[in-house]
């Protein structure tokens, strides 16, 4: 059994799993570096430790946070290899089998759901409470992030290869869908808050505001948002979208200027 401090060192190292990310080996070096304290603890002999680390010096790539349960499970498996209960080849095949699935789960859950909801909440908070916005964003996001790094590593170490079943019971893809729907609702609230903020600062040049003007502007902004989102989903980049929206502004101003001169 490795010590608690060693597990803590692996936890800290897991934050640097992408430090030497390369196109060829991706997180290969990072994974070996993260697990190194545990390997040194398990194999007291330097040659055995070097050989074990070399096993991990191969191509590896998964979502950085989802590497934690794998790290924990691999540490448990290395202990079994040392005790002669398991063949070292099993570790390699275990890691390889999870690269694709854990990459996909992590990307969908963390990048595709948790980050957007934290971003929308952060921007909404910034609109209402100013500088508290970034803090709200960081706290919401990192609750999920640190949970996976910490508990994933511990569960992995406790359960070994069975951690795969544990991760399955969490139902992360289903949770991701729910989070995305909540985030869409929050985005709607944010749009409404933004419209009120703009009216309050006199950006639309209308004071006092009539109810129909409020709904007209809301209708205009939501329609523009949805139509542009269709274009973005069709593959145009956000940079191009900005230019596409900006160019009509110049045309509009030229026309207004000409009309004023004629008038």
């Amino acid at each position: 059994m490795i010590g608690r401090f060693t597990i803590f060192k692996v936890f800290l190292n897991s934050f640097f799993i992408q430090s030497a990310w390369s196109f060829e080996k991706m997180q290969g070096l990072g994974f070996a570096s993260a697990i190194a304290p545990a390997i040194k603890d398990i194999y007291k002999d330097r040659d055995q430790a070097s050989a074990a680390l070399k096993r991990h010096m191969v191509f590896y790539n998964a979502h950085p946070y989802m590497a934690s349960p794998i790290l924990g499970a691999v540490i448990r498996m290395e202990e079994e290899v040392k005790d002669g209960k398991l063949d070292a080849g099993n570790i390699t095949s275990f890691k390889e089998s999870l690269i694709g699935p854990y990459g996909a789960i992590g990307d969908t859950f963390f990048w595709g759901s948790v980050r957007p909801i934290a971003s929308v909440l952060g921007v909404l908070s910034a609109l209402i409470w100013g500088l508290w916005g970034p803090l709200v964003f960081l706290v919401v996001y990192n609750l999920f992030h640190i949970w996976m790094r910490w508990f994933g590593l511990h569960k992995g170490y406790k359960l070994g290869e069975d951690v795969v079943e544990y991760i399955k019971t969490l139902g992360l893809p289903e949770q991701a869908l729910r989070i995305r729907i909540i985030a869409t609702g929050l985005l709607g609230i944010m749009v409404a808050a933004l419209i009120f903020k703009l009216f309050k600062t006199g950006m639309f040049g209308i004071q006092p505001v009539q109810i129909y003007q409020l709904f007209l502007i809301t209708g205009f902004i939501t329609t523009a948002t949805i139509l542009l989102a269709i274009l973005l989903r069709k593959g145009i980049s956000v940079s191009l979208a900005i230019y596409l929206l900006f160019l009509p502004a110049i045309v509009f101003l030229v026309v207004m200027d000409m009309l004023q001169r004629v008038g």
Binding site: N13, F15, F16, Q18, S19, A20, W21, F23, E24, K25, L29, G30, S33, K40, R46, S50, L53, G112, R115, P116, A118, S119, V120, V123, G130, L131, G133, P134, F137, L138, H145, I181, G185, L187, I189, V191, A192, A193, L194, M203, L214, T218, I221, T222, T225, I226, L228, A229, R233, S237, V238, A241, I242, F246, A249, I250, L253, M256, D257, Q260
Partner: protein, 251 residues
């Protein structure tokens, strides 16, 4: 000029460190525009402008996912450069003479001359993403050498080589990020200093619309990133319900 270079260096150093969070270390999201921009704003003397830029860019880059080997737009570098160019450029240029603009126009943008500067910064910096991505890719190509060095070291029983070379990767990312941000920020400020006064009045007048365009694109980008089977209904219902509720409360 000395002051401009010093401020560019300050922004680059902070930006280089913040950019590490994006791939190389931590991933606690301090590299996201909503956090990075206020930090740069604080360093350069206007934290609230940083927050405004950060909010817009956060939504703009919400849907870009670093899946597998794909390198998405470098939102951290772009954020740092846009914020730095806006703030340093504003100080370098002074206030834009709004007296030349017609009255109907000033209703909306009045004395908010930062929107001209910010609009210009967005338009010139966004295409620079190609350079940011190339710098990021260069670090990822270079890091293979570190991997090979570790393999040689392990053959000699040098276990420490694993940790030290992994951390060298951080240094590679930091150096390239810092250098790229410095060059792009300085170029952006110089472009603004030289180009902005030369632009026709009508183009200068249209610059704040670039900020509006970025806002609308940001909302669309966020909606597009969250798109699903019930998105349209949820989005429309919550927007109009909140507007109605806020209108009722205010009345």
């Amino acid at each position: 000029m000395k002051g401009v270079v010093y401020q560019c260096l300050l922004a680059s150093a902070a930006g280089g460190l913040l950019s590490l969070d994006r791939t190389a270390a931590l991933q606690i999201m301090v590299s996201r525009p909503l956090v990075a921009s206020p930090v740069i704003g604080y360093i350069l003397g206007d934290i609230m402008l940083g927050l405004l830029i950060g909010g817009v860019l956060e939504l703009l880059f919400i849907g870009e996912l670093p899946i597998g080997g794909y390198i998405p737009p470098h939102e951290t570098m772009l954020t740092v450069v846009i914020t730095a160019v806006s703030l340093i450029g504003q100080k370098a240029l002074g206030r834009i003479d709004i007296a030349v603009f017609p009255n109907w126009y000033l209703v909306g943008f009045g004395s908010a001359d930062i929107f001209f500067i910010l609009g210009f910064a967005i338009l010139i910096v966004i295409p620079m993403d190609i350079i940011c991505r190339k710098a990021d890719a260069a670090a990822r190509v270079f890091n293979v050498r570190l991997f090979n060095t570790v393999l040689v070291g392990l053959d000699k029983g040098l276990i420490k080589a694993v940790g030290t070379n992994n951390l060298k990767g951080l240094g590679v990312f930091f150096a390239l990020n810092l250098l790229t941000i410095f060059v792009l920020t300085l170029s952006g400020v110089l472009l603004m200093y030289i180009l902005l006064p030369l632009l026709p009045r009508i183009v200068v007048m249209s610059l704040p619309f670039a900020v509006g365009a970025a806002c609308v694109t940001g909302l669309s980008s966020a909606y597009s990133a969250l798109y699903g089977s019930r998105s349209l209904t949820v989005f429309l219902v919550t927007t109009f319900f909140t507007v109605t509720l806020l209108a009722a409360v205010i009345r």
